[in-house]
Amino acid sequence: MPIHEKSLIRKENLVTHERLTLEGVDVSGDWSTFIQPRVITDYNEAMQDEIAALPGGEAIHRCWQCGSCTNACTINALNSDFNPRYWIYLIRIGLESELLRDKDIIWQCVSCNKCTYACPRDVNPEGVMKATAHWLELKGHTPPSPAMVFDEVFSEQVFEHGRIEDGRVLRRFFARTGQALRQDWLVAMVKGLVSRLPVSLLIRLGLATVIEPKTRGWGPARAAIAEYVAERHAADRRALSLPAEESKR
């Protein structure tokens, strides 16, 4: 008889003995498989407070582990390793090493807000996912994710001009992530569109890529936003006990 819960235990944590005698009883065969004992001593006691200090993570302490978030999750339906409830648990008890096993997928949250809709405790799990992804990047556990690069490319344009032009966002994002702009599917789609559009509209769309759309008199707002962003960055780094960053610009 195999232990049928075996499928729930990671392979590296299972120990099977070829022959085993325990207290004089021969338990070789079906009864010789054990879960590796483990003693965890490296809890990161600051982890919950650090993530709660980042935007979106504020209400993580409210979680009751009901699992409504994971049950509702769009990405969990595609990949069962994407498990917001479990990550919130790990963060709350400080099991950093276990959280880091999933560090490369946490950024994939699509902000559909099904979790936030379902959560009976107002934890805002969507915000917690974003705060956790930020935390992983700030701590140097992950490189900036493609989503973060996109958010930055997009936001830089909003902060600079008040508005964005989507073609420019797309080109800058592809350039910054080192992808070719001439993806097969993108080329096919644009060709189809160009064949249908009147010349006047093509000229207008073309012009929009040269003359960036802007909000007039944006200067004071730009300065106020830049100051606020710098203030927030500094506060985030302080909350994570990271040294102050030299200014990028």
Binding site: P55, G56, T74, I75, L78, Q108, V110, S111, C112, N113, K114, T116, Y117, G127, K130, S145, P146, A147, M148, V149, F150, D151, E152, F154, S155, V158, G162, R163, I164, E165, D166, L170, F173, F174, T177, D184, W185, L186, A188, M189, G192, L193, R196, L197, P198, L201, L205, A208, P213, T215, R216, G217, W218, P220, A221, A224, I225, E227, Y228, V229
Partner: protein, 307 residues
């Protein structure tokens, strides 16, 4: 039907000036055909879309609130936003500025430094293009104005994420009969049914298209969109009606991408609800910008005697 929304401030947002141009064109055309006045917000700015909140949510609240303060200055009490992202962010700004002191503090500070009045909740509220048409014209009003019925057209109505979630920022929804539902929204279904369409029972009305990561995690978005498309086809739909430029473009892009990358071809057409409504009101396909869609639907429309 009340006509309090018959003259509203119009907030198109960035997408409607770019990839969502057909949505802007068809919204304006439908408004004109229905005799509804709109006045574009003067010198508006981006609401923060789905990106700025990941830099800082309070900054997104400020960006959205600036647009609300412009509406107030122009003497409007209602802002109409057709884009789900804009609509969601403006609603969220209204909610946060009424409930979260820290957001109020940041908004006041940034507004003062930027040199304009800070938005304070209560005077201006945001509605979606669906509310705008429904409140001002209503289903009976649409029925009376239909010149080219959508009869014979099977439609899956797709509302996406940001029109209903999270529910707390939409206090007017889930208020019983006559109000919108956040779990089973129906305003688009109702309007298109009034225009003669046969709505299919689509279970993925509020499922996610992966729009936030449409470029940064394309494989995930393609899988999510392919599911939306194949389910619509399984429900017998000829068309998916959309009400958001991000969903709309995402559906079109990933329909093309699913065919190229995964070899999965789907043929369901994708049209903005305003395009469908406009054609039912007798407008031509060109007048509602069907030629601006990436997805080619003109053969189907001709076959159904539309546009």
């Amino acid at each position: 039907m009340s006509s309090q929304n018959s003259k509203v401030a119009y907030y198109p947002g960035c997408a409607l000036e770019g990839t969502g141009s057909a949505y802007d064109r068809s919204t304006r055309a439908v408004g004109k055909a229905l005799g509804l006045g709109i006045e574009e917000l003067e010198n508006w700015n981006c609401c923060g879309a789905m990106e700025v909140k990941n830099i800082d949510p309070k900054l997104q609240t400020y960006l959205s609130a600036r647009n609300l303060s412009i509406a107030e200055k122009m003497g409007h009490t209602t802002v109409m936003a057709p884009c789900n992202g804009c609509y969601h962010n403006l609603k969220k700004a209204e909610y946060d500025l009424a409930h979260d002191l820290a957001s109020v503090e940041v908004n006041e500070r940034l507004s003062a430094k930027a040199g304009h009045a800070a938005y304070r909740p209560g005077k201006v509220t945001t509605i979606h293009a669906l509310d705008w048409i429904r409140d001002a014209i209503g289903e009976d009003g649409i029925k009376a104005r239909v010149r080219n019925s959508l009869s014979g057209l099977k439609i899956a109505n797709y509302y996406g994420c940001m029109y209903t979630r999270p529910r707390h920022i939409f206090p007017e929804k889930d208020k019983g009969p006559g109000s919108e539902s956040t779990s089973k929204p129906h305003f688009m279904d109702d309007l298109l049914a009034a225009a003669g369409a046969q709505n299919v029972d689509y279970p993925l009305k509020t499922a996610c298209c992966g729009g936030a990561h449409t470029l940064s995690d394309s494989d995930t978005s393609t899988r999510l969109v392919l599911n939306l498309l194949t389910t619509a086809e399984a429900c017998g739909a000829d068309v998916i009606a959309t009400e958001c430029p991000t969903c709309h473009t995402g559906l079109e892009m990933h329909q093309a991408r699913a065919e190229k990358v995964l070899g999965k071809k789907t043929t369901v057409k994708i049209l903005y609800f305003t395009q469908l409504l406009g054609m039912a009101l007798g407008l031509s396909a060109r007048a509602v910008g069907v030629h601006e869609n990436f997805s080619e639907s003109r053969d189907l429309l001709r076959e159904k005697g539309l546009g």
